[in-house]
Symmetry: C2
Subunit: 387 residues, 2 copies
C-alpha cells in the first residue's frame, strides 16, 4: 500500500448547537460514477485514535436534536465502532486454517544442518531424525529430500516442511551443484503458477515454495569458499537466503567476530543480497530493524538435541571436557538470535517476500517468455527450460 495516500477521518467532534447530525463530516475521497478513489489529502494530520466509549467519559450534552445549546468547544471521542476487531477475526481464521512454512537447508555434510533445524523447532523435524541412519552414504549427486510435520503451539498449527539437499558440496567436482536446487525452487513456483492460472482453483493453493534457504557456512575462520559464493550468487535471485556460520563452537569470540566481518565483506563485494534484503525494506522502521539484523549476520550458531543440567535448569547444549556449550545462551552463540529472527519476527515476512517478490518475478518471466499467455496450455518441457 506504499503508494496509496490514506485520508484520515478526524474522529474528534464538537457537539453541534443545532439539530444537524453530530457525526464529524469527513471529506470524501471520491465522488464518481463508477467510483475510483482519488485521494485528496485534506487532513494530513496524525490520526486521532477512536477509543471505546469507556476510554474517556463522554462530556455532558443536551439533546442535540431538541435544538438546545451545544457544549461549544468541548470535544469528545466518537463511540467505538470495532474496526480493530479485524485483527481478532484474522486470528480466529489463522487458528482454524494454520499456515505453511517451507525451510530449505543447504551446506556440506557434517555442518550440523539436521541438528540445527531440530534445535530451532525443538523437535525431530529434520529428515535425518526420521528414520535415516547416521551411516547413510553421501549421495553421488545432489538430491532434494523433504519431510513435513505439523507443529502446534498456542493453538496455531504450522505445517513445516524441511527440505534437505544431501550431497551438496560433497563431491570431488562440485561444479554447478547449485543447479538441482535452483531447479527444485523454480519447480515449486511453477506448481503454484499452474494452480493459480487454473480455471477451477483450490480455495487455498498448496504452497510448496521455499520460503527460506538456510545456507551453512563452514566455520573455517578464513573466508567463504568459492562454492559458497557461487551458490549464493545464483540462488539469491530466486529465494530468501539466510547464511549462518555452522558449528560456531569451534571459534573463539575474537575469531568469530573477525570471521563474521570477513564474510559480510565478501558477500558485499560479490554483490550477494541475503535476507532481509535492503531493497525490500518497506519503511524507515523496517529499515532500522533490519539494519540491526543485517549488521549482526551471519549468525554464528551451535545446535544440539541433547539436554544438560546447568544451574538447576535443563538446557540444550554440547558437553565438552572443558565445559558445556549452551546453545540458547547468547553469551555462548547466536542461536537464539537466529531463532528469534527466523521464527518470531520475520517468518511472515519471509513468506510474503517469497510470494510478492520471488514468485512474482518467476511468474512475470514465465508469462513474458510465453508471449503474455498463461502457461496452462504449454507443454511440460517449457517448465524445465525456465531456470
Amino acid at each position: 500500500m506504499g503508494s496509496q495516500t490514506l485520508m484520515l477521518l478526524l474522529p474528534l467532534w464538537t457537539s453541534p448547537s443545532t439539530s444537524v447530525p453530530v457525526f464529524p463530516s469527513a471529506p470524501d475521497m471520491s465522488e464518481i460514477v463508477p467510483p475510483e478513489v482519488r485521494p485528496k489529502p485534506v487532513v494530513p494530520a496524525k490520526p486521532s485514535h477512536v477509543v471505546p466509549p469507556t476510554g474517556i467519559p463522554p462530556a455532558p450534552l443536551q439533546g442535540s436534536g431538541s435544538g438546545g445549546q451545544g457544549s461549544g468547544g468541548g470535544s469528545t471521542l466518537l463511540g467505538y465502532v470495532g474496526i480493530d476487531t479485524i485483527i481478532e477475526q484474522m486470528r480466529k481464521k489463522t487458528m482454524k486454517t494454520g499456515f505453511d512454512f517451507n525451510l530449505m537447508v543447504v551446506g556440506q555434510s557434517g555442518l550440523g544442518k539436521s541438528t540445527l533445524v531440530n534445535t530451532l523447532f525443538k523437535s525431530q523435524v529434520s529428515r535425518r531424525s526420521s528414520g535415516w541412519s547416521r551411516d547413510e552414504k553421501i549421495p553421488k549427486t545432489v538430491e532434494i529430500k523433504s519431510v513435513s510435520h505439523v507443529i502446534e503451539e498456542g493453538g496455531v498449527k504450522m505445517k513445516l516442511t524441511v527440505i534437505d539437499t544431501p550431497g551438496f558440496g560433497d563431491q570431488i567436482n562440485n561444479e554447478n551443484c547449485w543447479e538441482p536446487i535452483s531447479k527444485y525452487i523454480n519447480e515449486q513456483y511453477e506448481k503454484f503458477l499452474k494452480e493459480e492460472v487454473n480455471i477451477a482453483r483450490k480455495k487455498r493453493i498448496p504452497d510448496t515454495r521455499v520460503h527460506c534457504c538456510l545456507y551453512f557456512i563452514s566455520p573455517t575462520g578464513h573466508s567463504l569458499r568459492q562454492l559458497d559464493i557461487e551458490f549464493m550468487k545464483h540462488l539469491s535471485r530466486t529465494v530468501n537466503i539466510i547464511p549462518v556460520i555452522a558449528k560456531a563452537d569451534t571459534l573463539t569470540p575474537e575469531e568469530k567476530t573477525e570471521f563474521k566481518q570477513r564474510v559480510r565483506k565478501e558477500l558485499e563485494v560479490c554483490g550477494i543480497e541475503f535476507y532481509p534484503q535492503k531493497e525490500f525494506d518497506e519503511d524507515q522502521e523496517d529499515k532500522a530493524d533490519n539494519d540491526k539484523i543485517r549488521e549482526a549476520m551471519p549468525f554464528a550458531v551451535v545446535g544440539s538435541d541433547k539436554e544438560y543440567q546447568v544451574n538447576c535448569k535443563r538446557v540444550l547444549g554440547r558437553k565438552t571436557a572443558w565445559g558445556i556449550v549452551e546453545v540458547e545462551n547468547p553469551n555462548h552463540c547466536e542461536f537464539s538470535q537466529l531463532r528469534d529472527f527466523l521464527i518470531r519476527s520475520h517468518l511472515q515476512d519471509l513468506k510474503e517476500v517469497t510470494h510478492n517478490i520471488y514468485y512474482e518475478m518467476y511468474r512475470a518471466k514465465r508469462l513474458n517468455d510465453n508471449g503474455g499467455l498463461h502457461p496452462i496450455s504449454t507443454s511440460n518441457s517449457t517448465q524445465e527450460s525456465n531456470l
Copy 2:
C-alpha cells in the same frame, strides 16, 4: 484447508536413557523427491499444546548426553518455539497496511440508508453526508455513486467505501433496475481480474469489489415486494447480501417478529440465499454460530445521527413525543446485532467469501467463456457482455 489432513506432532516426550536425541520423533508426512505432502495420519490424537518453558517447570533431568539414567516415564513439555508469534507478525503487518471494505447500500429512497451507514461507522461516511443536499432530486435511472474514507481505530486503518444506488425502486417502472447494480458489481470483479492476470502486478491489487450489499426492506409489516425478491434473486449469485428491515421503529414488537418471520419464509420459498450462506459454513462451529444469526435475520434496525441524554448517558436515538428510540439499545431495535455481526465478527469473512466464492465464480466463467485464455488480450466489449 478443509480437505487437508493435518498431522500432529506429539510435543510430549520422555527423557531418554541413552544419548540419543531428546526431541520427540515425529512421524514424517512425506519422503519423496521432489516432495509432495502425502499425509499419513499416524497421530490422530488431539494436539498437546506446547507452552513456554515458564508454563510448567521442567522436571529434573540428568545430563542425557552423559549416558546417565533417564527419568523413565516422566514427561515434560518441549521448550517454546514461537509458532504462535505468527499472529503478532500478521497483526503488525495489518497495522501497517490497513484494509479495504466496500459496502453497498440498496433500497428505495427514504428508508434511511445513509443514516444507517453513518450510525454503523459513527461518522459521516455516506454520500449524503458529504455535500449532497437533502433536496437532491431522485435520479431518473439507477445511478451508482461511491465515496471513500479512512477510519482508524485502535491503530487499525480501514478504507471504507460506501457505494450508494440512488434511484433504485423509485421509478414508475422499476423493471430490471437491478441491472446497473449487477453490472457495477461485475465490473469490479473484471477490474480485479485484469490486474490479477497482468504480467507486472501490483503488490496489492486495489480492491474495489463489493464485499457486502445491505438491502433495505421497507417496514410494511406485510411482505416483501416483488422488486425486493427480483433484486435479491439476481444479486445473491454475485454478492453477499444482508437484508435489513429499515426504519423498524414503525413496527411494534409483535409486528416486527411476525414480519421478520414472513420475510424469512418468503426468502426461503424463493430460494434466496443471503449472507451468511449455509453452503459456505466451513465447519460445525461456523454452522452453529451462523445458524443463530440466520434465525435472527433480517435485523430490524433504526439509525440515527443525533444524540440524546438518557439516564445521564449520551445515546444515539430518535426523539418522539412518546419517548426516545435508542438505536443501540437491544430492547429498542436490532441495530447493535447488525453492527456486531457486520463489523465485529464477520467483516473478514465477508471479504473472504467475496474473494474465494463470488470472485472465483466470476473468474472461472470469464476464463471459460474465453476458451481458457486469460482475458488480457480480449477487447473491452467482452467485459460488458459478461453479466
